[in-house]
Structures are given as C-alpha cells and as structure tokens.
C-alpha cells in the first residue's frame, strides 16, 4: 500500500478513542447496562474495545446473546469459548414460546421469523434482566436510513423507537437521563465503516469466527443466493444437493438467512483487498432486509436493533 499523508492507523486511533469514551460514559451513567453480543465481526470489535475501556479492571457489565437457535454451529462454539477465555458474565435470551411452537426460517417468512426470534427475544431479554442500556454494534454506514441514528438512541416504554423523541447530540456530552420506562441503545461504532472494522481486527489481532474467511463449505444455491447447509435441519428440496464451494460470509446471523460469497480470501489481509476492489453494500447479502422497501425502518420501530 502506498504511504498516505494520513496513515490509516491514525484514523483507527481516533475511532477507538471515541468508542472507549462512549463505553465509559455508558458504564458510569446507567444503572444496569449490557453489551449485546451477536458473535459477528462488529461484536468482536465491540467486545475488544470494551476490554480496552476498563482495563486493568474486568468488564463491568454482562454480555447478552440473542440466540435464535438457528445460528451457525461454529458461532455458538466460538461464543462459549470467548466467554470462557475472557470470564464473561454471559446471558442468553431466547424466545422460548416461539421455539416451542417450532418457529423457524423455513416455516415463517423472514420478517415474522426475525420479529419473533430476534426483536421479541431482545425485548424480553432486556426486560427479564432489567437492563436500562444495551450496547450494540450498529454503524451509520450500514444503510442510508441509519445516517440519522444517534449514538445514544432513546427507547420509549415498550422499547418503542420514536424519531421525535431522539435527543440532539452535542460535543462529547450525552444526556443519559432516563424517565420512567425509558431505556437506551448505545452504538459506540456509529462512525466506523465496514472497512474500519476489518482493518481494526487485523491491527489488533482480534479473534473472529472462521466463517468470515474462505474455505470449502457445503452450500446450495437458492434464488441466486448461496446458503450453507450447516446442520440436518436444512430441508433440501427435491433434486437439491449440497456442493462444496470455497465461500466466506460477509455478515453472520442465522445460517439459513446468511448468503455466502464465493471467495478465496482465507486471510484477513486478502479479505480486505477483496473488499476494497468489490465495493458492494454490506447488507446486500443479508436476506432479512430485502422484504419491503424500508423494512429496516419498520423493524427498528418495533424494537429491532
């Protein structure tokens, strides 16, 4: 890479300092904050930054995973390993009622499935443990509609997102006061880009699930999307057969809803090079956002992250 007048490392340092500042503010100002850990790359960075923010003390708040029970198996193994290595206070939230009813990505539309297994599970988890602030890895570059999202994003009673109640944000000063029933979502990575996340992972040598890197994996192609057959719950259609292809995932979620991309990038450096040349929106590979024009907006109003 050619030498730039402003080295990338300097930009990362500034983003890191901002995120750490947000973390410390959150830990000090709220009664019972929680880090929402979704096991993906953003969560891995988020977790790493949290460790940095409070060192040499351990993480001063618990970590919660919203488990839909349809995550890649590797993700769950990775989660439990990291929790053990780092001594995390890991809480797991599931929509038990929906699980008992057998809700799955194959039985329900992706929108309804997401609402039940993610949105409802998240709300229930927050209520069950009494969290008043939930820290998440959302970034403003993910989607155009996120450009107006706050770093401290207020939720009304019932986790409702009311655009009119969002607080203006000045300087580094945040109004973290809550009135009865309100809670906060906090996004320390708001000003990061996807490339920043990867370059930071590379620089800091942050562990991530290997699903992000290319490897021969069993996939089927459906409607032009490559889906990995991660376990035997995947109902193969007539004549369908999993093929081994060298693929990686750009975002990780529920395996039946995560589109793979064909790639040979098996190191983070290769992956960054591939990203720099392709330049396609991150959410393009995510199946849940596709339904309906502004579905991200409506999901947010319901309490989706």
């Amino acid at each position: 890479m050619t030498e730039l007048a402003v080295p990338y490392i300097a930009v990362l340092d500034e983003l890191e300092a901002e995120a750490i500042h947000i973390y410390r503010e959150t830990a000090a100002a709220f009664r019972n904050p929680v880090l929402l850990y979704s096991i993906g790359k953003d969560s891995s960075v988020l977790l790493h930054l949290a460790l940095k923010a409070f060192a040499p003390a351990p993480l001063p708040f618990p970590v919660m995973h919203i488990d839909t029970t349809w995550k890649f198996r590797e993700m769950i193994e990775f989660r439990d390993l990291r929790a053990e290595q780092l001594g995390l206070d890991l809480r797991i939230a599931k929509n038990e009622a929906a699980i008992a009813e057998g809700v799955s990505p194959f039985t329900h539309g992706t929108h309804e499935y997401t609402r039940l297994m993610k949105t409802v599970a998240l709300r229930e988890g927050i209520d069950k443990f009494g969290f008043d602030a939930a820290i998440g890895g959302a970034r403003r570059d993910e989607e155009r509609s996120r450009a107006k999202e706050r770093i401290f994003s207020l939720r009304e009673p019932g986790h409702r997102w009311d655009p009119r109640k969002q607080r203006p944000e000045f300087w580094r000063t945040a109004n973290t006061t809550l009135s009865e029933g309100q809670s906060m979502r906090v996004f320390p990575l708001s000003n990061w880009t996807e490339l920043d996340v990867w370059r930071y992972i590379e620089r800091e040598v942050i562990p991530i699930p290997s699903l992000y890197l290319a490897k021969p994996r069993p996939v089927v192609e459906r409607d032009g999307v490559l889906i990995m057959v991660d376990d035997d719950r995947f109902p193969l259609r007539e004549g369908e057969q999993a093929q081994m292809r060298s693929v990686r995932f750009r975002t990780l979620g529920c395996y039946p809803l995560s589109g793979a991309v064909e790639s040979t990038a098996d190191t983070i450096a290769d992956l960054i090079a591939e990203m720099e040349s392709s330049n396609v929106s991150e959410r393009a590979g995510r199946l849940i956002d596709g339904e309906g024009g502004s579905s991200m907006e409506s999901k947010k109003a319901e309490g989706y992250f």
Partner: protein, 615 residues
C-alpha cells in the same frame, strides 16, 4: 507514526436542497469512492420527475436522500451523519444539517463538533436570510473555518463579478461574527466544477477546489486552550489496590510527573502513570482516551475535572453568563430547576434571567423574557453547587453544556459559557457554632417543611390552618407560608406565568429552608402546579426534612367551593393563567402523603400532624 494532518475532520454542511446541497455532498461521496457501488448504480438508473440528467449520468442527490418512510416520520429535518474517505487517507465525518428556515437547533447540533463548515450559496439567487443564519450559528458554536461554496456558477456563466460581490457581502458578516477563517470557492456541483477537480471554465479563480481544500486543511494557529483538561468519566478499581481515573483528554497534554489540580476541590497531585490496555504511555494528548493514576490518594469522583496546576487554573463558580440554543418544545422558564450536564458532570441549575434574544438573521439583540424553540439568547445561570467551567471559546468540552428537563428527561437547551461570573471562592459559607442540632436541643424538636400542593380551592390553606393550630397546642413551633400571603410581600413582583410560578416556588422553598434550619415546622400552602418546580424545592432539603403532601380534591368540588371567586373569573374568561383551567396542574407522582380535601377535616389534620411528627 506522527502526522501533521488531523486524521478525522469534522465537517458541517449547511444550505438547503434548493442550493444543490444533496448534489454537492453526493458528488463528493461518489467521486472519493465513499459510497458502495450498488448505491451508485441505483443513482445511475433512477430518475426523479423533471430530472435533466442524461441517461448513464448519476443523480448525485439520490445518494444522500432519506427513505420515504423517514420523510413520513418527520425525521428528514434531522442531522444526517456520513463519512467520506479523502485520497490522502483523511476521514471526513459530515454532519449534514437540514436547510429549512426554522431549524436553528439542528444547525447547532451539526456545528457543535465542526472543524470546518461548508456553507452553500446559490450563485443565481444570491445571499439570503438563511445564509446569515447559518453563519451566525456556525460562529456561535465555535466553527473556526467557513468555506463559502458558491454553487450553480454554471447558471451565471461562471461570472467573476457576481461571485466576488456575493463573497464580499458574506465576508463582511463573517468578520462581524468573528469567524477566524473564511474562504470562498466558486463551483458547480451539477457540472462538477471545482468540486473534486479544478475547473477549466473559471481561469480567473486560482484557489483550491473543494476536495483539495478539505484534504490540506490544518487547524488555525490555536485559539483554543492548550492547557490540560481531563473530565473524569469513570473510576477504575482493579486488583492490587489499583485506582485510576478514566476519561478523555479534551485539551492540552499530560505526562507522568506533571502536577494536576482537581479543579472542583483545589487538591493537587502528581500524575503517576498513564495506563492503557496495551501499555503505559509517556504522554497523552487531546483526543486520547486513557486512565490516569495519581501519586497519592486524593478524593476524585466521576464528573470532577483534572486540570493543569498553575496561575490560569480553572476555578469553580456557581454563576455563569451563557448563550443558550433553546431546543425544547416548552419555552425556557426562569427560576425553574434544570439539570446542567457538561461532559460527565451533572448538577441542578436555574436560569435566573434572560438578558437578550439574538436575531440569528440580522445579528440584533432583542430584549426578551422567554426563549422558545429554535431561539438563541444570552442568559444568566446559577448552579446549585460551584463547578469549574471554561469559556466555550477556550474549550468546547468544558465550556459547553446541556440543560435537561428534570421530569421528561428531554434535552431542552445547549449552552455555551461566555463568562464565568462569580467565582464561588469569593463566597464562602460561614459555619456557625449554634447549629441545627443546638436548636433542636433548645426547642425540643427539629425543623421540617410540609409542602401542600393542589388545585386552587382544594383546601390547602384550611388544612394548614387547622393543623398548625393542633401542633401549636402541642408546643410545636410552627409557621405557615401561604401562597397568597407571600404574594402580597416577598413575591409581589411575580405574576402567574409558568416562569413566574417557578420563581415563586423557588423563593418560598428557600424561605422554608431558612425557617426549617431555625427549627420551625413550616406548612407551605401553595398551588405549585409543576412537578419540576416541586422537585427543585425538595432538593434543598435533606432526607426526611421535606414532605410533599398532595391535597387531592376533584376540580368540580374546588370550582363549587371557589373561596376566592377564581373559578368564576376563569369561567368568564378573565383569568387565562388559572391552574386547572388555562394552565395544567401536574399531579404528584410519588407524594409522601395524599390528603382528600373532601374528607373529614379533623381526620385529615390528624393524618397530616402524625406524618409531620413522624408517628
């Protein structure tokens, strides 16, 4: 690696869609490779009605436009944050403020972090009112560099004379406002002239194009404070007796061995270590988030300010002159207690007077008693306890603050300290030997305040009267502060607007506090309709010294009784500020005691007397 260029530049863009702002930002983003390819493709293939962009061209304005749903929700008027990667590696964080006339508040938000403002002016339409407004708000919020982007030069045939005339007018305003650096670039966002490449149509212009300017920008030789400032966010305690203070250096720099002063208490200490996750640092500079340890134990808590020791040490004060940008839907109320939040500090504060309101278009100062949403004005603020604050011009982080409504928790104003008016060090409360305890011993009981709130005619005065008679007979020293009686003397300068009511409550509470200190049991009979005001009153007292008593009487009963003829007047339209009629009464959420104004008076008095005596 050392670099002389600020890695992240905070840019604020002002102007309206009509000025071609979306097109300008869209083009900057697209031509610096800061938008994904698929979004670019969308802007290449989508056309709005009436578009004149040829097939295959990109409608840059589509890259920054919000979603339909968003527009319906009314948040298009909100500040949008975007990033841009410059070819030299610099990151630009764009805070894009909507251009509509009335949204001064959003402009202020966007400008609050801005290093540089790009102010769009439509060359064909010339300088407009909003141009002045944008300049004023940028200057107010401390933006040091303003780029006047004179857009749509293609529509005026790239005419130099028009450009220069326009720039001269704006520069005159900028100079009056004290903006330190102003540059002007003639450009066409639509035709791509002087945006990311030098124009060939304007040979008379030899300055940089916009991208060039943003890439090379360096902060002006510093007008801001370079003295060390470190608001403590979080106290880190860890194994081995580790105790460190975590925060962000907001100004200056620090090294181990430097002496600091806890500005709140005046205590000094030496920096022992600068701790980070990886390793200790030999120096920390503005913008770095670190953890500091001190050479010996000093009392430091979240919200305290660590500052460089020395002659220009920032001192705590409890009176400030400040500019406020009013954000709340409800207007500013004098005398009402708000929460002042600055960095990690938060302290109750009262606006004691409005000196003037600033007309952000003409720059004139008008006399005003109130500030409404989107108004800017100079006020005096009193804080409940002394806090160290810098003038905003020296440091945004330690000179800027928010006012938060104590009931709704909404942010109602952004404040900028202009003068530190009264150093609290000059007013040191004297401690007297005959104290509260000594008086308790003499009188046989301590002081207390029972605050009776309720609608006019609910029975507050009647209950207070009878209760005091009962207590008096028991040998308790009492006094009644009755709303109407106080208004004939101490508070005769006050009316019945919300802000005057707040001041009325504040004064009665302060008098009650003095009497309670003197050992009296005080019954306050005051409508005091607003929760925020009552909460502020309670705050003056220690736990158990203050009882909020809600006299709950149905409004129909009050109107029927109407002992002072108020309800009759209100019904006739002669009393617009009547509580329960023209003005709202906010019922206490968690009163210490509820009395029913329709119940048996003896039983009610018994109930109240018991509560006061703590039985």
């Amino acid at each position: 690696m050392a670099t002389s260029l600020t890695p992240v530049l905070h840019l604020v863009t002002c102007g309206s869609v009509d000025d071609g702002k979306s097109t300008l930002i869209g083009r900057l983003l697209a031509e610096t490779g800061s938008v994904p390819g698929d979004q670019l493709e969308y802007a290449r293939q989508t056309r709005r009605g009436g578009s004149t962009i040829p097939v295959g061209g990109i409608d840059f304005s589509l890259l920054t436009d919000g979603l339909e749903a968003e527009r319906e929700q009314g948040i298009t008027i909100d500040v949008a944050y975007r990033h841009m990667n410059l070819p030299n590696g610099r990151r630009v964080l764009i805070a894009d403020a909507p251009g509509h006339e009335q949204y001064t508040r959003n402009m202020a938000v966007a400008a609050s972090n801005g290093d540089v403002a790009v102010l769009l002016v439509d060359a064909a339409r010339g300088v407009r009112k909003q141009t002045h407004r944008h300049l004023t708000v940028c200057a107010l919020m401390g933006v040091k560099t303003v780029v006047i982007a004179v857009n749509k030069m293609d529509l005026i045939d790239y005419d130099r004379g028009t450009f220069e005339q326009l720039v001269e007018e704006i520069k005159a305003t900028a100079s009056r406002l004290g903006v330190p650096q102003v540059v002007a670039i003639p450009l066409s966002a639509f035709a791509g002239e002087n945006v990311t490449a030098a124009s060939t149509t304007m040979p008379w212009y030899d300055g940089p194009h916009l991208l060039e300017f943003l890439s090379a920008w360096v902060p002006l030789a510093d007008t801001t404070s370079s003295t060390f400032r470190f608001p403590v966010q979080f106290v880190v305690r860890a194994e081995g007796n580790f105790r460190g203070y975590a925060g962000t250096v907001v100004a200056g720099e620090i090294s181990p061995g430097d002496e600091i002063t806890v500005a709140d208490s005046g205590r000094t200490a030496i920096i022992d270590r600068i701790v980070t996750y990886e390793k200790d640092l030999a120096k920390a500079v503005a913008g770095q988030a670190v953890t500091l340890t001190l050479d010996h134990e000093v009392d430091v808590t979240r919200g305290d300010l660590l500052a460089a020791s020395g002659p220009d040490l920032v001192q705590p004060a409890d009176r400030f002159g400040a500019d406020l940008v009013w954000l709340g839907e409800e207007p500013l109320a004098h005398g009402r207690s708000y929460l002042l939040v600055s960095g990690s500090r938060s302290v109750p504060a009262t606006v004691t007077s409005v000196r003037f309101q600033l007309d952000v278009e003409s720059g004139f100062e008008h006399a005003a008693r109130l500030l409404n949403m989107n108004d800017v004005g100079r006020v005096e603020i009193a804080t409940d306890k002394p806090i160290p604050m810098d003038p905003y011009a020296l440091c945004r982080d330690t000179g800027g603050f928010l006012l938060v409504d104590r009931v709704t928790a909404d942010t109602v104003a952004a404040g900028l300290v202009r003068h530190v008016m009264r150093r609290a060090f000059n007013v040191v409360p004297h401690t007297y030997d005959v104290d509260r305890e000594a008086r308790v011993r003499l009188m046989g009981h301590g002081g207390k305040v029972a605050w009776l709130t309720g609608l006019p005619g609910s029975g507050k005065s009647t209950i207070a009267d009878a209760t005091v008679a009962r207590l008096h007979a028991m040998g308790v020293h009492t006094y009644v502060l009755d709303g109407d009686n106080v208004r004939t003397g101490l508070n005769k300068d006050l009316g019945f607007t919300p802000e005057d009511r707040a001041e009325n409550v504040r004064r009665v509470a302060e008098v009650g506090k003095l009497m309670s200190d003197a050992g009296l049991v005080v019954l306050v009979a005051l409508v005091s309709p607003y929760r925020g005001d009552r909460a502020a009153a309670r705050e003056l007292f220690s736990e158990g010294e203050f009882l909020e008593v809600y006299v709950d009487t149905p409004v129909e009963v009050c109107a029927e009784r109407d002992p002072k003829g108020l309800y009759a007047k209100a019904a006739a339209g002669n009393l617009p500020n009547m509580t329960g009629r023209g003005q709202v009464y906010e019922v206490p959420e968690h009163p210490d005691l509820i009395l029913h104004g329709t119940g048996d008076l003896d039983a009610t008095v018994e109930q109240l007397a018991k509560a006061i005596l703590g039985e």
